[in-house]
Amino acid sequence: MTTTARIQFPRMPRGPRQERRYTERPRQQGLVQRAIMEAFRKLDPRLSVANPVMFVVWCGTVLCLLLTLVPNLLDARATAADRGFNALISLTLLATLLFANFAEALAEGRGKAQADALRRTQARTEARRQRPDGSTEMVDSSTLRRGDLVLVQAGDVIPADGEVITGVASVDESAITGESAPVLKEAGSDVAGSVTGGTRILSDQLTLRISADPGKGFIDRMIALVEGAERSKTPNEIALTVLLAVLTQVFLIAVATLSPVAGFLNQAPSVVTLVALLVALIPTTIGGLLSAIGIAGMDRVAQFNVIATSGRAVEACGDVNTLILDKTGTITLGNRLAEEFLPVGGHSSAELAEAALGASCFDQTPEGRSIVRLAEKQGAVLPFDAASASGIEFSARTRMSGTDSPEGTEFRKGAVDAVKGFVRSRGGTVPDELDGCFEQVSRLGGTPLAVCRGGEVFGVIYLKDIIKPGIRERFDQLRRMGIRTVMLTGDNPITAGVIAREAGVDDFIAEATPEDKIAVIQQEQKLGKLVAMTGDGSNDAPALAQANVGVAMNSGTQAAKEAANMVDLDSDPTKLIDIVTIGKQLLITRGALTTFSIANDIAKYFAILPALFAGAGLQALNVMKLASPKSAILSAMVFNALIIPALVPLALKGVQFRPLSAEQLLRRNLLVFGLGGVVAPFVGIKLIDLALGALRLV
């Protein structure tokens, strides 16, 4: 019985987040070395052609290398004396390519490490597959297909994601959730009906229907995502790539046409300097870091113990306008506890306690068990023999549960109006005080449960709801970010209103049915809003599918997990808020580095143009007073190359997100990345120029 009790509690992850990992922290050692190796491998033009900006750099590098070997290949005036300079430019260009490759490889490496950790949870095992005739055969777990029936016994590792068909067993899910206590799995239950591959069954046996083909499970999809193997670009990333590609073309035309224009003044610059100008102007910084930013974003989601099935979903998180949250487990602590009995209709508190005990003896929800505890504490005894009585389960339709005693007496408890209806249907009358008690409890933010025996109302149980500490502050943050929160609860409107006010949500829907969830989502979406929600039950599945971001709890049903685009392994509904932050961080990082990259161009012009056309009388534009034309060009190129590794940590960690209003965020980030992007290269190029001068390189 103790295991049965365990499962009924929604599992709340405990402890600080960083200790709640289900996987070991990915190995960091060797990452950098491997990334360096990868950086060279990625020089393969077949790989680099995928990134238009960097491919232009690649072509420029090859051209410069050729001109280093044969200086007068394209220009008869060039002599072997140019070789040294050409070589230096070629090297900086090569460095630019390698740095960009390194950034991507490092992000991928971290993703791979994460993926390896994930992969270890799904070691290949033997599985007992059931033949149609009922006998079993031993097969390798990798041969299991969706729909196969599998028998697992105590001590087995569950071979794949599946749904429990028959049996009750306790399962150790610590491999993926980090929770050491075993959980009960049984057929036909919303919260306990699904098992995940890689977990271990501790007692009894289960028959499972496999729900995913090999390589198609959640973990597999996550592995593909963090590894970047099947990474499809997100919509926003595509739009940005288009703009960067067009900017590259614009600058390509600007630089390519420069030769004849300058030739009119007999100032035609050498091909190598033109390549340098082109590479300096095209947005290499963001071009080189773009994919690393995307991969790192997915990686961050994984580190939060959330499995995302697409990058699109993570990006959509940043855009979410409305969060739909279940009250229980998200806003309030999951377990409401019976606090007090409020008798009505001339009944004593003891009589009510007895009736409540009678109505709750089969109720294994935390609420039910707390009622039993409170009643027993008050000395109540079960008025019938539990063994021959039958329990009536709670349903969303009746909104009541209870017990039919062996004598046929109907003990019921449930929502006050549901019980009223029941009492009337049994020919009883409803005492007037009942409404008073109902309101009294509701105003306290508690849930009133009416108790009756047949047609006789005994009173109200006050179930106390506890709002999670700190939740109010989180909702305030969300409001500042422009995100509306809607609380859904089965509670009556008064209770819901009290809780909503105390928790600080923007809106609530009381006495909500699962259909209401979909209705609310559709209503918001009709206004063009993006909606995120969490859910676990089977009846949440349509709503999870309808929502733009649906986060299923790992404790939830297979149906819910499949409808969702993310699964939270910790089953912590508040984590939705963290995911929103990750989504925003991803977008901000991309925008910040784009702005920085484009703002850099101003300084680069002032460094390179006067140097390029020294003979055209443009010396006055040399505002940085760079030592010589060659040093100026080389300094700009070195800056251009070095800025990529300098920004790699930022790209991987993401720009810090603060829950500020859009206006404040824009002001802040513009100052740092916009103004910084204008000023930084002036300082950087000047310093490099001084250093080159000191080294006597040019």
Partner: protein, 571 residues
């Protein structure tokens, strides 16, 4: 001091009159009741629409708007081309014959695209029938086409259906351009501008020689030239000629007339989207850009050439009408290039390099009030790009006017960014590579580069002014600039319509604290920077080799020497 006061007054009058005309344009293009007009214009418009078989309903797609635009423009162009190729004797007192094919083609395309670049001397090649039936006709319809496109784009951004091209074209003519031109023509007439079909006046000069003074129906020509951002002169000297621009007052009123419709269109945009704060900030932005340009050009012209200052004083008087003086000619140069009018009241070729730099800068940006209707459209494209680039930094998919800026919008906006490099830089490079013989470049060095870049920039931006030392009446120039004219006109229009139509189909969101607000001073400054970086930075190398190098060459030799000492020029 006086020219500055006059300039300030003119710009102040633009700022003061723009809102009322903006309100008027809003009424016209949002089809609000205008009782005074509706009573007798509605039947005419309805009748005309019925005659061409258009039901006047809004187009469902960008193509539905673009197709009638292309067909009607092709028709307009064909008619004008025919008239130029075969000039009949009627209304042709001097008996000019048809134009050479490339010149006729270039002139037609140039007027059809609202550019009015002229590679011919009109008073020596066009009779009154061609001036009226081809040139003035195209001036009206090209301006109306521009306005129609502008308001179709505004409608799209405001979430309305983009409208019907024929209906917009008609209403632009009947309710805006024709009445406004008639009023302005009346003013020009009173100021002494001729309006006659009489043959040229034959006069005996003081020296006793005989001279033909060309005249014609100039007053109305002049009105639509300025109001419609056309800029093509009835005579070659354009607004420097006393018949086109006789007094200081006509000069200032012309300056006002060039600015007023683009300014009012920006104001009308605010009314369409229900956010006048947004349109006022955009107006402030372009006003600021105009003011910076005006101060640079007016100062440069008034200061004159520093190399000549030992011998000459009174500013740069070369190529100037003394009636207007250097400063007001500088202002005109900035206004005419900013608004894509292209009319000139002095020789820009002889202006100071900084004035030419400002003019080129305006041509590259195309938004310093910008062309008829297209000005606001380009401005919105830059706002969209600013939103996309910086909007990500607030952690959301960027939104403009409640709608998300996503891939299709970025694609169309980016294509518009590509037009100028393709149609300005590539032909410039080809021409300069071909040498002076092909190019007819009349100046060596940096000024020669400016001449070529300016010609193509003026064509692609549909401006029409030029650095007229250029020998441009050749097939090479006629054909290559024709390509730039067409490319700079119809490709962006197609992209703009597609952009606007896609935009209007997106769901509009109510703003929340998490939404990036575009109607703030901060964001307007961001737009200004994006405008300069994306719109003009591409051209910085050619600007550096052209006007900037020329400007630097005028710096006192001592300063140059000092800079040279610091720099290691040995390499």
């Amino acid at each position: 001091m006086l020219p500055w006061l006059l300039a300030a007054t003119t710009l102040a009058v633009v700022a003061l009159t723009a809102p009322s005309l903006g309100r008027y344009l809003f009424d016209v293009f949002d089809e609000r009741p205008q009782p005074a007009w509706d009573r007798w214009l509605n039947p005419i418009e309805a009748g005309l629409l019925r005659w061409i078989g258009d039901n006047g309903r809004s187009a469902d797609t960008a193509m539905g708007y673009m197709l009638p635009l292309l067909i009607s423009n092709a028709l307009f162009g064909a008619l004008a081309l025919l008239l130029l190729l075969v000039q009949p004797a009627w209304l042709n007192p001097l008996g000019f014959g048809g134009l050479r094919w490339d010149l006729a083609l270039h002139t037609t395309i140039s007027f059809l695209t609202n550019t009015d670049q002229q590679h011919l001397v009109p008073e020596q090649s066009l009779g009154n029938l061609a001036q009226l039936g081809a040139m003035q006709f195209l001036m009206f319809v090209s301006a109306a086409t521009g306005l129609a496109v502008g308001f179709a784009v505004i409608r799209g951004f405001s979430g309305r259906p983009i409208g019907s091209f024929h209906r917009d074209l008609l209403r632009a003519l009947t309710r805006v351009l024709i009445p406004a031109s008639l009023l302005l023509a009346l003013f020009f007439l009173v100021s002494g501008v001729p309006m006659t079909l009489a043959p040229p006046l034959e006069i005996i000069t003081l020296e006793g020689g005989r001279q033909l003074l060309p005249r014609g129906p100039i007053a109305l020509f002049e009105a639509i030239k300025q109001l419609g951002e056309n800029g093509g002169g009835f005579v070659s000297a354009n607004s420097a000629h006393p018949y086109e621009n006789p007094t200081l007052l006509t000069n200032l009123v012309s300056t006002w007339a060039m600015l007023i419709i683009p300014a009012a269109t920006i104001d009308a945009f605010g009314r369409f989207v229900g956010n006048r704060r947004q349109s006022n900030l955009l107006l402030a932005l372009v006003f600021a850009l105009l003011l910076i340009g005006a101060v640079v050009a007016m100062t440069a012209e008034q200061a004159g050439n520093p190399v000549l200052e030992r011998w000459l004083s009174g500013g740069n008087l070369q190529g100037k009408e003394l009636r207007f003086g250097p400063a007001l000619t500088g202002l005109w140069a900035v206004v005419t290039t900013g608004t894509m009018t292209g009319a000139v009241n002095g020789a820009i070729d002889a202006a100071m390099p900084l004035t030419i730099l400002t003019a080129l800068f305006n041509l590259f940006l195309q938004v310093v009030f910008g062309g008829q209707g297209t000005g606001i459209a380009y401005l919105l494209v830059f706002v969209l790009l600013a939103v996309f680039l910086t909007g990500l930094m607030v952690g959301r998919t960027p939104e403009f006017l409640g709608r998300k800026v996503e891939k299709p919008q970025v694609v169309w906006a980016s294509l518009i960014l590509l037009i100028h490099p393709i149609f300005v830089l590539i032909p410039t490079a080809l021409t300069l590579a071909g040498g002076t013989e092909l190019a007819g470049i009349s100046n060596p060095g940096s000024h020669g580069i400016s001449q070529v870049v300016y010609e193509y920039a003026s064509a692609a931006a549909n401006n029409g002014s030029g650095l007229e030392g250029l020998g441009d009446a050749t097939p090479w120039w006629n054909i290559t600039t024709s390509l730039s004219l067409l490319g700079g006109r119809f490709l962006p229009i197609a992209a703009l319509l597609a952009l606007a139509d896609g935009f209007r189909r997106k769901p509009a969101l109510e703003p929340s604290p998490g939404t990036l607000r575009t109607d703030t001073g901060l964001f307007t400054s961001v737009t200004a920077v994006v405008l300069v970086i994306l719109g003009a930075l591409t051209f910085f190398p050619v600007l550096a080799l052209g006007p900037i190098a020329e400007a630097l060459s005028l710096l006192p030799v001592k300063t140059l020497g000092a800079i040279g000492d610091v720099l290691n020029l040995a390499s």
